[in-house]
């Protein structure tokens, strides 16, 4: 190994959550069992036929099955053949599950007339305390165990932060592409591995005495969490949904700065630690920039060249809000009853 490569490798190498792939999780019903068994068995001997029509599109079973199939495109699973990512039987099953999920989302989103109006609703801040906001709750009343649950649940996304959105890049051009790449560059640490947002999140988890290995909290994550991550993968993997992916990304960036401020305060108030504060402090500042670039250049550029995508941009914004609200309701209802919001409570912090 050349000297400079070696010195970079040994100098302050950050703990990497993605050095290994996670084990396959426990199935949550017939669909997810079929996927787990097929992955474990090295593929399907014949066509995978299973009726998906009765499956709850937001339920644990369908969401986990879809999550497993999507995860083949990111980090895979321990002991699972990597080339199953492009297995036609599994892709066929994925398509059926996606159809259920996407159909339900389209039916549940009310479709505002313009992207500008859909964004305008996100560009205002409530005065005072909002009972339905997880961030407001954590800032004012959150307890450390709730912050740990929140961080564990969100780790399914944040340990691959901005990855699902990178898939849209080859589908963009001009202003939209330049803007999207600039924001993604920032998400990926602007050239410094220790500043990759996913790494900042692993550092936050460390402060909260959580396990930082990729996918560790998959079994603990309820369907509402899986659905938020599946939405990104769904929109990212389909070129036909590029408008919705951009709408989704804009919704995340626009709401992130004030939301991160509340979480930074929650972390400070509970004494979570410096890295925990840092992750959210960084997002207050970064996302105040990102939302501007995404609105002006990414959405502006995309709709200037492809005006027909406006309703998809709106759909992406609304589907994001819809799934975030469902997740928020799940977390808050459990925490208000002093119950764990996860499927399996966390081990106590050491």
């Amino acid at each position: 190994m050349p000297a400079e490569i070696q010195s970079l490798a040994t100098h302050d190498a950050p703990r990497e959550s993605r050095r290994t792939s996670p084990p396959l999780p426990e199935p949550r019903g017939t669909l997810s069992r079929l996927v787990v068994d097929t992955l474990r068995g090295g593929g399907s001997p014949g066509p995978l036929s299973l009726d998906t029509h009765d499956a709850d599109p937001y339920g644990d079973d369908l969401q986990l099955a879809l999550y497993l199939l999507y995860e083949l495109h990111y980090q895979g699973f321990d002991g699972v053949r990597e080339d199953l990512e492009w297995d036609p039987e599994l892709l066929g099953l994925r398509r059926a599950l996606e159809g259920r999920f996407l159909g339900a989302l389209r039916a549940n989103c009310r479709s505002t007339d313009s992207a500008e109006h859909a964004l305008a609703e996100l560009l205002v801040e409530p005065v005072g305390y909002s009972r339905t906001s997880v961030g407001h709750h954590l800032q004012r009343d959150g307890e450390l165990w709730q912050l740990r649950e929140y961080a564990a649940a969100r780790s399914l996304y944040h340990l691959k932060e901005a990855d699902p959105h990178a898939w849209v890049i080859p589908r963009l051009h001009g202003r939209a592409k330049a803007g999207m790449v600039a924001v993604e560059f920032d998400e990926f640490g602007a050239g410094r591995p220790e500043e990759i947002h996913a790494q900042l999140y692993a550092d936050l988890m460390e402060d909260l005495a959580l396990e930082t290995a990729y996918g560790y909290y998959l079994d603990a994550a309820p369907a509402e969490v899986l659905a938020t991550v599946n939405l990104m993968s769904l929109l990212g993997l389909h070129r036909s949904l590029r408008g919705a992916l951009i709408g989704h990304f804009a919704a995340v960036e626009v709401t992130s700065s004030p939301g991160s401020r509340r979480l930074a305060k929650a972390m400070r108030r509970c004494g979570a630690g410096q890295a925990a504060e840092r992750f959210y402090d960084e997002h207050v500042e970064a996302d105040a920039v990102h939302e501007q670039v995404v609105r002006r250049d990414v959405i502006g550029g995309l709709l200037a060249s492809e005006p027909g995508l406006e309703s998809d941009v709106v759909f992406g914004i609304e589907a994001t809000g819809f799934l975030e609200d469902r997740l928020g309701a799940r977390l808050l209802s459990a925490w208000r009853d002093e119950r764990s919001a996860l499927r399996t409570p966390l081990e106590a912090a050491a």
Partner: protein, 113 residues
């Protein structure tokens, strides 16, 4: 060749720095930038673009933290579903002076990095 800048870098340095004005929000300035405060303190940002607060409400001044956004009053006592999420209300509500909500109380200036 540490002393010979790459052509791309030279071109980038010679390119005029672009500033974009958001009439209701920050100034967007291509980074890296240094901002000199009234007190002479210099604060730097390496970000590809920096959003410089013009409303003076930011709690991470000189960087925008979206505190310039319009604030919507909502009925605290309304049941969650009946709360006006935003809608047309949001676009007609005007800001009155420094109406920081409870968030800002007790916020120390040391938070601004």
């Amino acid at each position: 060749m540490p002393n010979a800048p790459e052509p791309a870098q030279t071109a980038r340095e010679q390119r005029p720095r672009r500033v974009t004005i958001d009439p209701e929000g920050p100034l967007l300035v291509e980074g890296p930038v240094e901002v000199v405060g009234d007190d002479g303190r210099v604060i730097a940002s390496r970000r590809f673009t920096a959003a410089i607060c013009t409303c003076r409400r930011s709690r991470t001044y000189p960087w925008c933290d979206t505190s310039h956004r319009r604030r919507v009053r909502r009925d605290e006592n309304a049941p969650p579903d009946a709360e006006p999420e935003t809608g047309t209300d949001a676009r007609t509500t005007t800001r009155t002076g420094k109406d920081h909500d409870q968030d800002s109380e007790g916020e120390e200036s040391t938070d601004a990095r």
